[in-house]
């Protein structure tokens, strides 16, 4: 008991006095408040709240962090905000009900999942024009792009597939089945693997990018939680891709997965219905959005301990970092 208290005090002291390598901000979209909350990664406090369009979900920054793109799903628009002022500069044509998107490494093309229309829309952020619309499965959501920019991925929740898009032709070149309700996709940094989470299937599938063949499938077993409530959604890779932090939805836990052995090493209790997450600058801390409890949990990556909960708006969903 005493060591536990000591550890708690130590980590509290770290929060109060410690400072991470670089300061920065975590931007969180609040799905049912039509706002973004800006959290200071040093003080771990909300320093700004800006209004957005209706039902903001996906959020990402331009490569120079001078622009923040926000999927305002119910406004049927991707909004472009000046992160220094919170001013909405303009909307991008996004197709209907944009839920999630990914910015191509060229810093120009946004690949947007239009959830209600079974379409992926490609928008040029400079010309503000739609470059292509690609038919995908029912309820597209998860979006990823390979580090070399050659492949974009859309996962469709009801069709249960990862759709592989050739970004040169903007056409599908493969469709791979995954377990029920795929929610999120990520490439590893070397571009060799692509991971997909399946919310209802309760699994995480790893694909070999070179041939789109399934390499592995991970399952989760949170002690004391019924398997039906263990629902993998958002996930992120740690520094050097050694581990993945996987949000397990209504089980209220984050799983820490070894990215080499595909084994779960830890479960970390966070807020209720954990959705997505973002790291701070040096990836020493990860910030998770907890939809139902309306807060963000800060996790110390090295010790795998939750440090603090930060109240944000109602139903926080997406998260993105800017220095």
């Amino acid at each position: 008991m005493i060591p536990f208290i000591k550890a708690t005090l130590a980590s509290t002291a770290l929060i109060l006095t410690g400072s991470t390598a670089w300061s920065g901000e975590i931007w969180v979209t609040n799905e049912k408040d039509d706002t973004v909350s800006v959290i200071d990664t040093d003080t771990l406090e909300v320093i700004q709240t800006y209004p957005t369009g209706e039902r903001p979900r996906g959020i990402t920054f331009s490569k120079d962090f001078s622009r923040v793109y926000i999927c305002a799903s119910d406004s049927d628009a991707v909004q472009v905000m000046d992160p220094n002022t919170g001013e909405i500069l303009h909307d991008l044509p996004s197709g209907e009900d944009p839920e999630q998107f990914v910015l191509h490494p060229d810093d120009t093309h946004l690949y947007i999942a239009n959830e209600d229309d079974a379409i992926t829309t490609v928008v040029n952020t400079k010309t503000r024009k739609v470059v292509a619309q690609i038919d995908v499965g029912v309820e597209p959501e998860g979006m990823a792009v390979s580090p070399d920019g050659k492949i974009a991925i859309t996962t469709s929740e009801t069709t249960n597939m990862a759709h592989w898009i050739d970004t040169t032709t903007q056409e599908l070149f493969a469709n791979t089945l995954v377990d029920s309700r795929p929610r999120h996709a990520e490439f590893t940094k070397d571009g060799a693997q692509m991971w997909v989470s399946s919310e209802i299937g309760g699994t995480l599938t790893v694909f070999d990018v070179s041939n789109q063949v399934e390499l592995a499938k991970m399952t989760f077993d949170v002690p004391g939680v019924h398997p039906d409530r263990v629902q993998p959604v958002g996930f992120e890779f740690t520094q050097e891709d050694t581990h993945a932090f996987v949000a397990l939805g209504p089980s209220n836990h984050i799983a820490v997965v070894n990215a080499k052995t595909y084994e779960v090493e830890d479960y970390i209790l966070v807020g209720r219905r954990v959705w997505h997450m973002a790291f701070n600058a040096d990836k020493s801390r990860i910030f998770t959005t907890n939809g139902v409890s309306g807060d963000v949990t800060v996790i110390d990556v090295a010790s795998r301990k939750a440090l603090k909960s930060i109240k944000v708006g109602r139903f926080p969903w997406g998260a993105a970092f800017r220095p």
């Binding site: 499965g137 929740e157 009801t158 469709n175 791979t176 029920s180 039906d228």
Partner: protein
């Protein structure tokens, strides 16, 4: 290893090769006239159920186009006094997969046709417990929850809220008495007390006199924790609300109600299904729509994963551990292998919001919490299903 080969196979198909797997589905509805009700405020949509099947078909088609699989659906509506069995036979010639909206006696008659021996039928209309029990059929799955699944869900709410002393008003139509019977069974199962029951004799126009009649009618109940309305015909129940002698919650067919589906469900991605449905049909999705959607999606999911269209393969897959349907209820939906009932959470809702979703926390089960609702394996007397 098997799974990997499977994926390569599909990957190959999606690269342009035409596979030509087509699944034909029949949708059969028997039009049964509704009894007259006191209010005409909520007419049942003409395409109730069928609209859900159409949305499910569209979901299947979108998925199928990436796999070289296609789906068709032929729908037929027969009047209740028409030749239902002849129509069913004709439809079975075209497809062994029938999604059916019909009373339970006709469901059984169709299932017992020699032409249906190797068919796979979906009951999307009857909550009758017997169809999942002594009268189950090997060729019939049930995507609609049984009445007892819904009343068990409500009983769990009673336990959680400590509403232990219940009273009930029951209508006289068969659907009302069946619901009341299911409710009595659920109250017994969960050890709750039904201290008094009254029958609603439909001989007053409550649009004029509810404020005078209902207080008197309910005064005889004395005190209780909650009043159950068994009025699945939706005749009188709406006039009981806010007119009772005692200020107590109203539950059952009105008020806080256990539902297959409700327009107020928006969690678990349901908002997407609701908006897709609304866009296609310009109205809210109902319970029968949901059951028909789930039936068609069940077939779609089985074809997607097996690339087969024969009933034997699909039935085996649907009843296997590999099958799971993402049904926008927050958990994977699967079929009970002992009677073909689709396991599913039950929404506890009022017309403006979802209040809870059963199974509620704390109602444990040794294999699947969803089996705390309805006929569990040891209770079901269904023998022919497996």
């Amino acid at each position: 290893m098997v799974r990997i080969i499977f994926l390569i196979f599909f990957g190959f198909l999606s690269n342009g090769a035409a596979a030509g797997v087509t699944l034909n589905i029949g949708y059969l509805r028997v039009d049964v006239p509704r009894p007259p009700t006191l209010s005409n405020l909520d007419p049942l949509p003409e395409n109730n159920g069928l609209a859900g099947a159409q949305t499910g078909l569209q979901d299947n088609q979108t998925t199928g186009k990436f796999l070289g699989q296609s789906y068709t659906m032929a729908s037929t509506i027969v009047p209740h006094n028409g030749d239902v069995l002849r129509t069913a036979k004709e439809m079975l010639v075209v497809s062994p997969y029938l999604v059916i909206d019909a009373p339970s006696n006709l469901l059984l008659a169709i299932a017992d046709l020699p032409e249906a021996a190797n068919a796979l039928l979906f009951n999307t209309s009857s909550g009758n417990m017997a169809l999942r029990d002594t009268e189950c059929r090997k060729n019939m799955l049930h995507s609609l929850p049984s009445d007892v699944m819904r009343t068990d869900a409500l009983a769990q709410v009673f336990i959680q809220k400590r509403w232990r002393d219940l009273v009930m008003i029951t209508g006289t139509y068969p659907a009302d008495t069946a619901y009341a019977a299911a409710m009595r069974r659920s109250l017994r199962k969960f050890g709750l007390k039904l201290s008094s029951e009254k029958i609603w004799q439909a001989d007053a126009d409550m649009r004029r006199t509810a404020a005078q009649e209902i207080p008197l009618f309910t005064q005889e109940f004395g005190d209780y924790d909650a009043l159950i309305i068994a009025d699945e015909t939706h005749d009188f129940g709406r006039y009981v609300l806010y007119n009772t002698w005692q200020a107590r919650p109203i539950v059952g067919s009105e008020g806080l109600s256990p539902q297959t589906w409700s327009p107020v469900i928006e969690q678990w991605g349901a908002a997407q299904l609701q908006s897709r449905f609304e866009e296609q049909h310009s109205r809210d999705m109902t319970g029968p729509d949901y059951a028909a959607w789930a039936a068609v999606r069940t077939l779609g999911e089985a074809v997607t994963r097996t690339n087969a269209t024969d009933p034997e393969t699909l039935r085996a897959y649907i009843l296997s551990d590999d099958f799971e349907l993402a049904g926008f209820k927050g958990r994977a939906l699967t079929y009970r292998t002992w009677n073909g009932q689709l396991r599913q959470p039950i929404a506890i809702a009022h017309p403006r919001a979802l209040v809870a979703q059963a199974p509620l926390e704390g109602f444990l089960h040794k294999s699947n919490e969803l089996d705390s609702l309805g006929l569990d394996r040891p209770e079901s007397k269904c023998e022919v299903f497996q």
